[in-house]
């Protein structure tokens, strides 16, 4: 646990580190000529945005990181979509970009288990995002048949639980702790289920 005064002393140095990383990332982007690698390098800037906001280290920062992350991810999605269209990396059936790599077969179970575990410990929206990244990695890495009905159903029930806990906040404010536990779990399941479907649906029959 860092004292407030120590943190105030550290803050300018942390900003300096961010600036140094910005220069390094900018230089690498300037040197790189391959479009795909430049796309990957822009992710560095996105992480820097999150780092600058996180350096605030207050609960305000926690509230601001989420929209910042959403904006960054949507920018990244836009650019990669343009790249896919520009380089004609699609077929009429769907995207056709699953490379055959050994690491995509061996790594997913371990990474997924670790990420889902961390997600459950974190709980809430953030935990849901972390767990969803794990599940997404598993689905993209190992491939799958598209039978998502179960995930959809679980997600629906989680959503209903979330609404119930939201009502408890207002109608029975005395039971706020129960409501917090309920909504944290429900949002975890809901976000994990929904986010893990992004990009994995490729238009098979059972969707």
């Amino acid at each position: 646990m860092i004292e407030l005064e120590t943190y105030v002393q550290i803050y300018p140095f942390a900003l300096g580190a961010v600036f140094a990383i910005f220069l390094i990332a900018g230089y690498s982007l300037f040197r790189e000529k391959n479009d795909l690698h430049r796309l990957l390098l822009t992710d560095l800037f996105e992480i820097l945005v999150l780092a600058i906001i996180a350096l605030l280290a207050t609960d305000l920062a926690e509230a601001l990181i989420l929209p910042g992350m959403v904006v960054g991810i949507s920018e990244l999605l836009v650019i990669s979509e343009i790249y896919i269209v520009k380089e004609k990396l699609y077929t009429n059936v769907g995207y056709h970009i699953r490379p055959q790599l050994e690491v995509m077969k061996s790594a997913p179970p371990y990474y997924t288990a670790a990420l889902v575990l961390i997600g459950i410990i974190l709980s809430g929206f953030l935990g849901g995002v972390v767990a969803a990244v794990g599940i997404l990695f598993y689905l993209i890495g190992l491939g799958h048949h598209e039978r998502f009905t179960l995930i959809e159903t679980i997600s629906g029930y989680a959503w209903a639980l979330w609404v119930v806990s939201f009502l408890v906040y207002f109608i029975l404010p005395d039971y706020w702790f129960f409501a917090i536990m309920l909504s944290a779990t429900a949002v975890l399941v809901k976000v994990a289920a929904k986010l893990s479907l992004i990009g994995t649906m490729q238009g098979e029959r059972h969707v």
């Binding site: 803050y11 910005f22 350096l55 601001l64 904006v71 343009i82 269209v85």
Partner: protein, 225 residues
């Protein structure tokens, strides 16, 4: 506290809106009305047709803009207008940065609606620029929050008017301006891709004018706080 179920004061808790409010002044209202006008123009106007002259004859071709491209660009132009409306009247600096990022994303959408290799290349470069511009944009907002402890334009301007010891630092204001410049670079890439007339018109109008609105607003913010 006793549990007064269904009847009593704890039935509905109210949460005040704190400092995320509108910032209404003649200037911002003017910017808002411009954004509304541009959006309405984008809704009611039809895409321009591409005219190709056949050499050696008097003939010419009229190229049809596909319906799905027109729909996509119109949707993006409307979204861009909504983002500009939000950016012009918001009273919160972080909201402003989010709205200006949204303007950038929508501009990319309008440009990349044209399925042409060179246009897509220009849109791609522009996308990389707005990713980089995100760092100074959010960095400026974060620095203002870190030094003054608030993001509300009302409170910042009030503190400055009262002569507070800590106001928004100059470097944060400059970063904010640089960020908005990066997000609003779209007109340069339109010239680069050469879609100012057919293929992109009239939705390109929004891409050219709405970053100007956002830029006017950031100047106002920087002069106020």
């Amino acid at each position: 506290m006793s549990n007064t179920l269904f009847g009593g004061e704890t039935l509905l808790a109210t949460i005040p809106f704190a400092d995320i409010v509108w910032y209404l002044s003649p200037y911002t209202l003017l910017l808002f009305s411009f954004a509304v006008i541009f959006t309405i123009l984008a809704i009611i106007s039809r895409p321009e047709r591409y005219v190709d002259t056949a050499f050696g004859t008097d003939g010419y071709y009229l190229k049809e803009i596909p319906l799905d491209q027109m729909r996509f660009q119109r949707f993006m132009a409307i979204a861009c207008g909504l983002a500009a409306m939000g950016a012009s009247v918001t009273g919160d600096i972080f909201n402003f940065t989010l709205f200006s990022s949204l303007v950038g994303i929508c501009c990319i959408g309008i440009v990349s609606g044209v399925k042409n290799k060179y246009v897509l290349q220009a849109a791609y470069e522009y996308g990389i620029v707005i990713m980089i511009a995100g760092v100074p944009l959010f960095g400026g907002a974060a620095l203002i929050a870190a030094t003054t402890g608030t993001l509300s334009i009302f409170e910042l301007s009030a503190a400055r008017a009262l002569g507070a010891a800590v106001t928004a630092p100059l470097i944060a204001k400059l970063l904010l301006i640089v960020g908005v410049m990066g997000e609003g670079m779209a007109p340069f890439y339109i010239l680069k891709a050469d879609i100012a007339r057919a293929q992109g018109a009239p939705y390109i109008l929004n891409v050219c004018l709405i970053p100007v609105l956002v830029f006017l607003r950031v100047i106002e913010i920087v002069l106020t706080i």
